[in-house]
Amino acid sequence: MFNNINIALVPLLPLASSILLGLFGRKYIKNAAGIIGTAALLVSAVLSAYIAYEYFFVAGKIDNVYQPIIAMQYNWLQFTPSLSINLGIIIDPISVMMMVVVTFVSLMVHVFSLGYMKGEERYATYYAYLSLFTFSMLGLVISTNIFQTYMFWELVGVSSYLLIGYYFQKPSAVSAAKKAFIVTRFADLGFLIGILILAFHAETLDFQTLIQRLTDANSTQFASSASSTFLGVSALTWGLTLVFMGGAGKSAMFPLHVWLPDAMEGPTPVSALIHAATMVVAGVYLVARLFPIFSFDGAALTVVTYVGAFSALFAAIIACTQTDIKRVLAYSTMSQIGFMMFALGVSGYGGENGLGYMAAMFHLFTHAFFKSLLFLGAGAVIHLVHSNDMNDMGGLRKLMPITHISFLIACFAIAGIPPFAGFFSKEEILLSAFHANTLVYGVALLTSGLTAFYMFRLYFSIFWQKDTEVHDSHGEGPWAMKLPLIILGALALLAGFVPFSSLVTADGMPLETHIDIAFSAAPVLLAAAGILLAMRLYKKANETPAKIALALGGLYHAAYRKFYIDEVYAFVTKKIIFNLIGRPAAWFDKHIVDGLMNAMASVTAAFAGLIKGLQSGKVQQYALYFFGGIVTLTILIIYWW
């Protein structure tokens, strides 16, 4: 059986290193801070890999079904006799999978930062925050009950606030950190109310009991949650939808995504950790955790589907128009998470119907590797060029061959080109959407094409096009930065071959999947078309037709035709897609969605201004209000209530 100490050590080691570095890092062990943090994480990662092995191949299966194991359970607080709050560790396919992903990506980021953050003044603080974040995220994924999840959920928010605002000398970083914290907190209030509703009706906070009670149509708890309604919708649906709102906030789903692009102000390795592999997928994880209830209720799941599908498309369109490389990646993350969300949304619970669930988890898994690779690669590029703007880049393939190759692998992976990792998971998602909902499938297909296009636009703009002059002589950076790129590159190439469908499924039973070439043809060809289009438009800069005509002479006609096609492409993409869809979408995002958030703030401020006369400083007036209050209350009670 499991050694529970090993399991508990996985989150506790990062916590210990965080406390150690936080307390003593500045003065005593500044230079060793990176090594200490990385070493702790290395042990965590090895342990979680070992736990995963034990669980998946040795101890996890009973009667060919993966069983959740409560590795540790501690009755932490008895709120009322019928409602207790526990702290514990749950070991089941998704939590083990998340543990591996979180510790592994975090380890890569720790290693990468050894090079990237070297020489920063608050180096030790950075590692303390990074470890704290890792601890919170691990705590979140191993939670046995929804309250514990919520606590770590908030802790994740706090530590990401610290990390995004790490460069606190930059006003933009500070306001981005604040925005991220407040927007996600706003979403969390939905989560909190959702928890209260679910806990009130189910009379428990424990995930397993909650699921058991709320998916049993005969239980009294289910009857109470399904029969009490608010604004015409059952309490159960409200509860789930509000919990999803919390998830949507963390996972940057429309319209709660506004914080994500701004959050790119944080150090780039942080983005790789928080905004690619861990925090942003917390929402997906949460829905997956409560999936049996979601799938039993159905109505809330429909919300998940459409929010996910819309976010996927919306973000992909905006990504085509951005020139800040990190923002492109941010929107692409939002789009990919949209994929995971709607995959969950279209999924059923058991057997063949559970394909969407499996696909979402699979995509979460592969996405973690290639997206963190993309961010780390972007970090390496920014490290060299000292700019985030793709207009300042170009031709970097000669200067940074390792970054170039690994970035290319990641681009292929995200575009869904076989045999790269993203292909397999995306295929499953598309397949599940195809069986469930034609509209969603159409959106997904279109988004896949767009994804390939904008990712390769990014790739060609950075590594091809014009040559950039780089003044720094440090080249690609130290091995600490190159090694994670190589490892993640290998994973982005190979992670798709993990027999995921037999390991992580909704009901714990292995699922038969196969790749259907006929089905795969459409998305792969569309992705290939997107890549080719990006190549034509962005591989070389400023080629005018006159030059082509001059150079190619006799082939003028052919060249002309080529140019003509280019021109059509350019017209369609630049004029129509950008101006008619992309720009308005970006504008809408910036002014309406963002504006709505700001408007809420200014309405509050205006109202506060309006009532300030209440506080005049005159005691006689205070007495008047006092008496007015009494009279009003008396009248209300006697004549109204």
Binding site: E154, Y622, F626
Partner: protein, 470 residues
């Protein structure tokens, strides 16, 4: 029997003893330095706090005028703890003050009044305790004798208190007129919800609402908090409010149980008003004491939510929140007191770049602010969560939604201050604040409390087991 007397009234007698010890020192011939008086007073208050934990007994006295039980003992101990921390924090300000002993005399009389009020089992006893608790507070608010604002605060406090006491007394008389009794034990059976009784109840209710600054009876709060010396403000906002919350919850749950429908509606309405208006005002404040004053008003709104749950969890979560609030608010006010005593700076803009010069105090204040905002894993989060959870039992989702929205609004201004502390640049930040052993001890207690009372579940469970509901 005599033995019982001392045990049952231990909490009231101890402050009285300390009061007389200090009084004799004052009128005696021995010229003690401020430092030694403060040391002595703190030691005595510490003994007072510790002694409260031993030899307690349930029971009543004086023909049911006075009663005590395990929950009341706990509540009094929380107040003892609060006053001990306040006294530790006051050292920086009292060090050079001319009237050190008087400060303690007033503080102790007020504390005694609160204890009598909490133990009162009769409206008359309750009223006497309330007056004894209030009048010394007005004198305390005036304790910065040379400052005009301090006198203004005292005037406002005494006038408003007189007004509210008058109406409260009117309510008590009407209550007596309709029922013919003032005893807590006899009243419930005689309450029939007639219009006159309801009016009397509203007057009583408003008296409580005034003391714990519930909108629209809160208007004195900000002016008094701003003008009064910081230690007095922290006493007012934590200890005094705590005492009234304890009594409020128990009176509603026991004496006015037959009017539960009535006061549930009132609590709902007033908690919404209190949270919203408290937060909206807090958003605009430039003075840190005023900001904390309005934020403490908003916090009261949350307590009303917990009380409105009218269950065992309702009482427990309110008492628990007060405990957490003692640590949290005193940590915040403690830092503000130190800065105010040494530099006189009280504006939020003065706190820009505070972290650069005073990293320790900046962290203390930041943790306190996070706790006030209800961010896990600080105790403030658990406090708020339990209150909302207790209130949610009534399935009033509007109330819960408004509460959650208000948590976001409050987060905004707390974070603004955190941002000022850590992230804003300032050409002339607050200079390095030096603080002595008293302030250090207070800080350690507050930080430990903010962390442990949240994470150590025994605290809440202990309170829960002592609480009652219906």
């Amino acid at each position: 029997m005599l033995n019982d007397f001392f045990i049952l009234m231990k909490f009231e007698l101890l402050p009285a003893v300390i009061f007389f010890v200090l009084l004799f020192i004052k009128v005696g011939t021995a010229e003690l330095s401020n430092a030694s008086i403060i040391r002595l007073a703190n030691i005595l208050l510490f003994i007072n706090l510790v002694a409260g934990f031993f030899y307690n007994k349930d029971g009543g006295m004086f023909g049911d005028m006075f009663h005590t039980n395990a929950l009341i003992v706990l509540q009094k101990s929380i107040l003892n703890l609060g006053i001990f921390i306040v006294s530790l924090q006051a050292e920086a300000w009292l060090r050079t003050h001319k009237h050190v002993i008087e400060f303690y005399l007033l503080l102790l009389s007020s504390l005694m009044g609160m204890f009598f009020m909490i133990s009162g089992a009769n409206l008359l006893m309750f009223y006497l305790g309330l007056e004894l608790a209030t009048i010394p507070l007005a004198a305390l608010a005036n304790f910065d004798l040379e400052k005009r604002k301090s006198s203004e605060a005292a005037m406002k406090l005494i006038m408003s208190s007189a007004f509210s006491s008058g109406l409260l007394l009117f309510g008590i008389s009407l209550m007596y007129g309709t029922t013919g009794t003032l005893g807590f034990a006899q009243l419930p059976a005689l309450l029939n919800g007639s219009n006159l009784q309801v009016f009397a109840f509203v007057l009583l209710f408003a008296g409580f609402a005034f003391k714990i600054s519930v909108v629209p009876f809160h208007l004195w709060t900000a002016d008094v908090y701003e003008g009064a010396p910081v230690p007095v403000t922290s006493f007012l906002s934590v200890v005094s409010k705590g005492a009234f919350i304890f009594v409020f919850a128990s009176v509603l749950y026991t004496v006015f149980k037959p009017l539960a429908d009535t006061w549930y509606h009132m609590l709902f309405l007033l908690s919404v008003l209190t949270m919203v208006i408290g937060n909206l005002f807090a958003l605009r404040q430039q003075n840190i004491k005023r900001m904390l004053a309005f934020s403490s008003i908003a916090q009261m709104g949350f307590i009303l939510i917990g009380i409105s749950g009218s269950s065992q969890a309702g009482t427990a979560s309110a008492v628990y929140f007060v405990l957490v609030y003692v640590f949290t608010n005193l940590a915040a006010f403690g830092v503000v007191a130190l800065v105010s005593a040494q530099t006189g700076k009280e504006d939020i803009t003065d706190y820009k770049g505070f972290h650069a010069t005073n990293p320790v105090l900046a962290w203390v204040l930041a943790i306190a602010l996070f706790s006030l905002a209800g961010v896990p894993p600080t105790a403030g989060f658990f406090g708020k969560f339990f209150l909302i959870m207790a209130g949610a039992a009534k399935q009033n989702y509007w109330l819960i939604t408004i509460a959650a929205l208000n948590m976001i609004v409050s987060l905004y201004y707390y974070l603004n201050l955190v941002k000022a502390l850590f992230m804003d640049a300032n050409a002339s930040p607050v200079p390095k604040i030096t603080f002595g052993v008293y302030a250090k001890l207070a800080i350690v207690i507050c930080i430990a409390g903010m962390v442990l009372s949240g994470l150590a579940s025994v605290v809440y469970e202990y309170i829960y087991n002592l609480s009652t509901g219906f």
